[in-house]
Amino acid sequence: MRVKLWGTRGSVPSPGPETIRYGGNTSCVQVTLSDGSLLALDAGTGIRSLGLALGDEPTRLHILLTHLHLDHIQGLVFFAPAFKPQTEIVIWGPASPEASLRDRIARYISAPLSPVEVRELPCDVSFRHCPETEWEIGPARIRAASVAHRGPTLGYRVSEGDRSLAYIPDHEPALGADLEGLDEDWISGFDLARDASLLIHDGQYADEEYPDHMGWGHSALSHSLAFARRVGARRTLLFHHDPMHSDDFLDELDRRARDHWKAAGGDPHTVEVAAERSEYDLPAGVTAPA
């Protein structure tokens, strides 16, 4: 399993000279399975670059959406493969009692927000609600579960053999909860991330920023690390950067995260702030602090 980050930013794209190293595109992670099957986790603006990288080859792709906030779907209408008739795209996402996944996405891919409608996309696109039980895509087992964020939001676990990727980009598991003291079955997202080879997790706020953003659906650094430690993640990427965070600020956050992890007994090389275009082979083969 190979993982490439095409968008690591949260909330809104934030291009500019101050975000060159960590990137300004919103959430999108490419996962390439051992048989070549392609998954895109979320379709923020990062998916535009993924589409360009895929080139002209006929493509079958599964897009797994965590939720439908704009920073996770905004790239859909700029994803070049969607405009090629030879492309087959399956879009997975959370169910809602209010409307189908297709209808909810169509609110964005329609006038006046978009020049094209879903029905006009030349590719073969289908929409599926994520089941509550595990399912398979190629050689991988996929699990989706609702997690603590604002509105219906999923996290994903992608497993192939003994390797596993947990992707929970928008997550506030510490809202009203003590992550250190709670039993594991009461921690949002725990089963998705348990012993993950790679955990990609919300790390939007520095601890001093969190009090002003409590309940917004995102984590403070210490919450992200407490979650990673409780679930036993072997490697952790802090993701969904606040658009106000410059490269210099994220360098400092990265330093704090490694120091915190080391102080907890972990290997500081197994925690980092996610940078756009970074690539990872799974498994990482390292151990989380006890």
């Binding site: 169910a95 809602s96 009692p97 509550e132 579960a145 609702s146 997690v147 603590a148 219906p152 809202l175 009203g176 909860a177 039993d183 594991e184 079955d185 009461w186 921690i187 949002s188 725990f190 089963d191």
Partner: protein
């Protein structure tokens, strides 16, 4: 240990922050949490009690009517809510672990999701017994 559904996790987190006594049961009717104010009323913290199976938790505080007759488990608002997926309300008396009696009103509502029922929450208040709430 199976992961609790997010709806129960969020409900517990909310209940933990409330001063209103509250109970939480899962879709099978198992009592999975009650908060500190409920513990104060019952005379026992949840941590001392732990998970309690359906049919058992009602007897913990012996709900009975104004004549002292036991209220059947099936008639408790929380049970009605989790079984029928409907809100329910009732006034009855309970007995704490120390033997103190309280007259309470309980309102229960179901936790329904696109994937079906996850359980129910009940909040309860001591009855005012004719006192003016103002």
């Amino acid at each position: 240990m199976a992961q609790k559904p997010i709806e129960l996790i969020l409900a517990r987190n909310l209940m933990s922050a409330l001063s209103t006594p509250a109970f939480l049961v899962d879709e099978g009717g198992i009592l999975v949490f009650y908060n500190e104010p409920a513990g104060a009323l019952l005379g026992k913290r949840f941590e001392e009690v732990g998970k309690v199976g359906p049919g058992e938790w009602g007897a913990m505080f012996g709900p009975f009517d104004e004549n002292g007759a036991p209220i059947p488990y099936d008639d408790l608002p929380l049970v009605v809510s989790v079984r029928r997926g409907r809100p329910a309300h009732a006034k009855f008396r309970i007995r704490s672990a120390e033997g103190a009696e309280h007259e309470i009103e309980a309102s229960a509502f179901p936790i329904l999701t696109p994937h079906g029922s996850r359980g129910a929450i009940a909040v309860f208040w001591p009855t005012l017994n004719g006192e003016d709430p103002e």
